[in-house]
């Protein structure tokens, strides 16, 4: 096995695991279509065929303690996070054994305690500020966690996406936003949605790094996302990753996608993420026919078992509809402190409540002479907390909030590290 050099090396087991998750995602997708045709799926069915590398490769770049919030085409991410096919099957079949007990469907479920998964809502965009908040909360508690969500090309046009990205940037939240550019938002092509070719360029509006990656190359997706995740984990703020891929089915099962030019499907079919990865694994001698056959039959066997479990689960009892509006006497999410609590209580937490404005906002973008001197002299001392933790826990105007070039640049000179024009600074 001779692998190309990777910034974040993957072991043979890991490479095979990536295949397993992608292939399982696809087979699960196909299984759901069969169940749909048997009228066992309640409501719409959304496919992620063609996007398996995007969901799996991104989620795989996270650690177990990190957080995700899946959208409908991120079943692969849920599998990586430890959910089983039965969970997704039961969600789609509205069974009592589903993670929501039949209260909601599709990928709309989560687990705050173990897997660190936040349930999405249908309204596109709103997860961006929510996952920003999860990131801020984790940092506050002293955890080194990163949060991630996905959003479609279409979803990036919502106000919630913008507010969330801007808030994440202003707070330097350890958050990675994956834009899955699958070329279509329902029936509308990207070019009719936004006047950018690379949605990664949206990052510039927030002064954060934006990377574009071939979303059908799972190794590339992993490498790029891992770069983003580690940047976020180091306290450098949010990162946007655009994964360029293609939705190979209609918006949902009801939609034959007649509006997609056949040649476009052909183009992308030739770039199918699983076929490509299979060839890659063979080319680099990671596996042989026997290993592949074993994996495939394991997936087949698992799906069979999982489907049987899911189908055995009854529909929920009607009275469940009345339960759980309020969380009364329900479980409480206990904050997991990984820093001394004293740090957030007075007197340790107390500060002088003033802004330090280093840039008076003149039109040439340069600070006035006295301000420049002040900024340089101040040297952006970290808060007491950041000195201990190496991150600045989201105090406003921390260092390195300026827009960066895509590749992580050399350390920015102190004079440039002041807050952007007109942006007040929280500390002297």
């Amino acid at each position: 096995m001779t692998l190309p050099e990777m910034k974040y090396p993957l072991s043979r087991d890991q490479l095979l695991q990536l295949y397993y998750y992608m292939k399982l995602t696809r087979e699960l997708d196909e299984q759901l279509v069969r169940l749909f045709r048997q009228n066992k799926v309640v409501g719409g069915l959304y496919s992620s065929i063609g996007q398996e590398a995007s969901a799996v490769g991104t989620a795989y770049a996270l650690e177990p303690k990190d957080w995700i919030a899946p959208m409908i085409r991120n079943v692969g991410g849920l599998l990586v996070k430890g959910y089983r096919p039965r969970d997704i099957l039961m969600q789609y079949m509205a069974r009592s054994g589903s993670p929501t007990g039949g209260k909601d469907g599709t990928s709309h479920f989560g687990d705050l305690k173990e897997r660190h998964v936040v349930s999405p809502i249908s309204m596109l965009g709103d997860l961006v500020p929510v996952m920003t908040g999860v990131a801020m909360g984790g940092r506050y508690l002293g955890q080194k966690v990163v949060t991630m969500t996905w959003i479609g090309d279409g979803g990036t046009s919502t106000g919630a996406f913008h507010e969330g990205m801007n808030l994440a940037a202003s707070q330097r939240a350890p958050f990675v936003c994956v834009v899955e550019n699958n070329q279509w938002a329902y029936s509308t092509p990207v070019a009719r949605q936004v006047r950018l070719r690379d949605l990664a360029d949206r990052a510039r509006a927030y002064g954060v790094p934006g990377y574009a990656v071939d979303g059908n190359d799972v190794v590339a997706v992993y490498q790029t996302t891992k770069t983003a995740v580690e940047q976020a984990r180091r306290g450098e703020g949010p990162v946007l990753v655009e994964s360029k891929t293609m939705r190979m089915r209609g918006h949902a099962q009801h939609d034959p996608a007649a509006y997609v030019p056949p040649a476009m499907f052909e183009y992308w079919k030739a770039r199918d993420p699983i076929a490509r990865y299979e060839a890659w694994l063979t080319e680099h001698a990671v596996w042989n026919k026997k290993v592949k056959a074993e994996l495939d039959s394991r997936i087949e066997r698992e799906l069979k078992e999982e489907t049987a479990v899911a189908e055995a689960s009854p529909l929920p009892q009607p009275e469940v509809a009345e339960q759980g509006v309020y969380c009364d006497g329900c479980h409480v999410i206990q904050a997991q402190w990984e820093r001394p609590v004293d740090e957030v209580q007075p007197p340790q937490a107390s500060v002088e409540a003033v802004w330090t404005v280093a840039d008076f906002g003149g039109s040439n973008g340069q600070p006035q002479a006295p301000a420049r001197a002040a900024a340089a002299a101040a040297g952006e001392p970290p808060s007491s907390a950041s000195r201990k933790f190496g991150t600045d826990h989201g105090k406003p105007g921390g260092s390195a909030t300026l827009a960066r070039s895509k590749a992580r640049a050399k350390p920015v000179p102190a004079a440039r590290r002041r807050a952007p024009s007109g942006r007040p600074k929280g500390r002297r």
């Binding site: 929510v130 908040g133 919630a160 801007n166 808030l167 969380c327």
Partner: protein, 324 residues
């Protein structure tokens, strides 16, 4: 002990809860260095630091979303809307994310969203609204609306300790107009329990927020005419203390509902329907309403006066009801 205003009571509640529980954090616009548009958070940044008093860009969806996210980490964020009218900009977070989270998948959202509401200060159409019914109508949210400093403090503390999302509406007219001496020790006011502000046998007025004061004034006038009015301050609008209302109605047999919110789709309609269903036999007259008129909140003083329910209108309606 010195008397405190409602805004001081709110600040004290935030301060004491932050001191008591390090998972309590504040997030909002201009709440830190400036201390909030109404100074409800003044001094808290200096005391608790940048990590716990978080100034944000102008992003109601962002603020509410971030509060939800922090709560999923086990924190108890208190989000301020600079004026409650702007909660409309974060409406989706409230009604689709926050309200449904626990029901759908068991994700509790112990956040508090608070902000100044209400008219009478010539704030015009966008700084005077009473948006309670947008949220009372959404299962999963709790809504409180205090009329006294004691309740403002006690309800806010309960709201912060509650495991559910609570919207706390603070009438800006009351912020500095009502004063009260508060106990030195820690106290809470339970959610979902009304308060009898004035006992009476002839007629019940159910109300909340600023119209509690107007209703008490009206009750004073009516007493001179021999009409003894029982004034209920609902305090929590969701979940509504239906039992408390029914108990009073069973005693007085007459109910007038007064609120500053507009008439159509206001809480009065829901209360009237409840009483109709559950205490019809006890009624000696129709359930009447005194509310704002069905328009946006107008700006100019004579227009706003016409818009808002007035003491004279409450007295008139109560007299009419008493005649049955």
């Amino acid at each position: 002990m010195a008397e405190v205003t409602m805004v001081e009571a709110i600040r004290a509640a935030l301060d004491e809860e932050m001191q008591r529980d390090p998972t309590v954090v504040l997030i909002g616009e201009d709440i830190g260095v400036y201390g909030g548009a109404f100074k409800a958070t003044e001094g808290l940044l200096a005391k608790y630091g940048w990590e716990r008093v978080i100034d944000t860009p102008i992003s109601e969806t962002g603020i509410l979303g971030a509060a939800v996210g922090m709560s999923y980490q086990g924190l108890r964020p208190v989000a301020e809307m600079q004026f409650i009218d702007f909660i409309a900009c974060g409406f989706n977070q409230m009604v689709n994310f926050v309200a449904k989270s626990h029901y759908r998948w068991g994700g509790p959202v112990p956040i508090v969203v608070r902000g100044p509401c209400g008219g009478g200060v010539h704030g015009g159409p966008f700084h005077s609204q009473n948006p309670e019914m947008w949220f009372v109508h959404t299962p999963g949210l709790k809504v409180v609306y205090p009329s006294t400093p004691y309740d403002a403090k006690g309800l806010l503390k309960s709201a912060i300790r509650d495991n559910n999302p609570v919207l706390s509406l603070e009438h800006k007219f009351l912020y500095r107009r009502v004063k009260e001496e508060l106990p030195a020790e820690d106290f809470t006011v339970p959610l979902g329990k009304l308060a009898v502000r004035r006992p009476g046998r002839d007629l019940t007025i159910a109300t909340y927020g600023a119209t509690t004061l107007a209703s008490l004034d009206a009750a004073g006038e009516l007493a001179k005419e021999g009409i003894e009015v029982e004034v209920l301050d609902l305090r929590t609008l969701a979940p509504l203390d239906r039992q408390g209302i029914l108990e009073s109605v069973r005693k007085t047999s007459k109910l007038l509902v007064v609120h500053e919110d507009v008439r159509t789709g206001g809480l009065a309609g829901e209360i009237a329907a409840t009483v109709n269903e559950q205490a019809f036999e006890d009624l000696d007259g129709p359930v009447l309403r005194v509310t704002a008129i069905d328009t946006p909140v107008p700006f100019s003083p004579p227009l706003e006066e016409r818009f808002l329910p007035q003491v004279a209108g409450i007295v008139r309606a109560a007299r009419e009801l008493a005649r049955y």
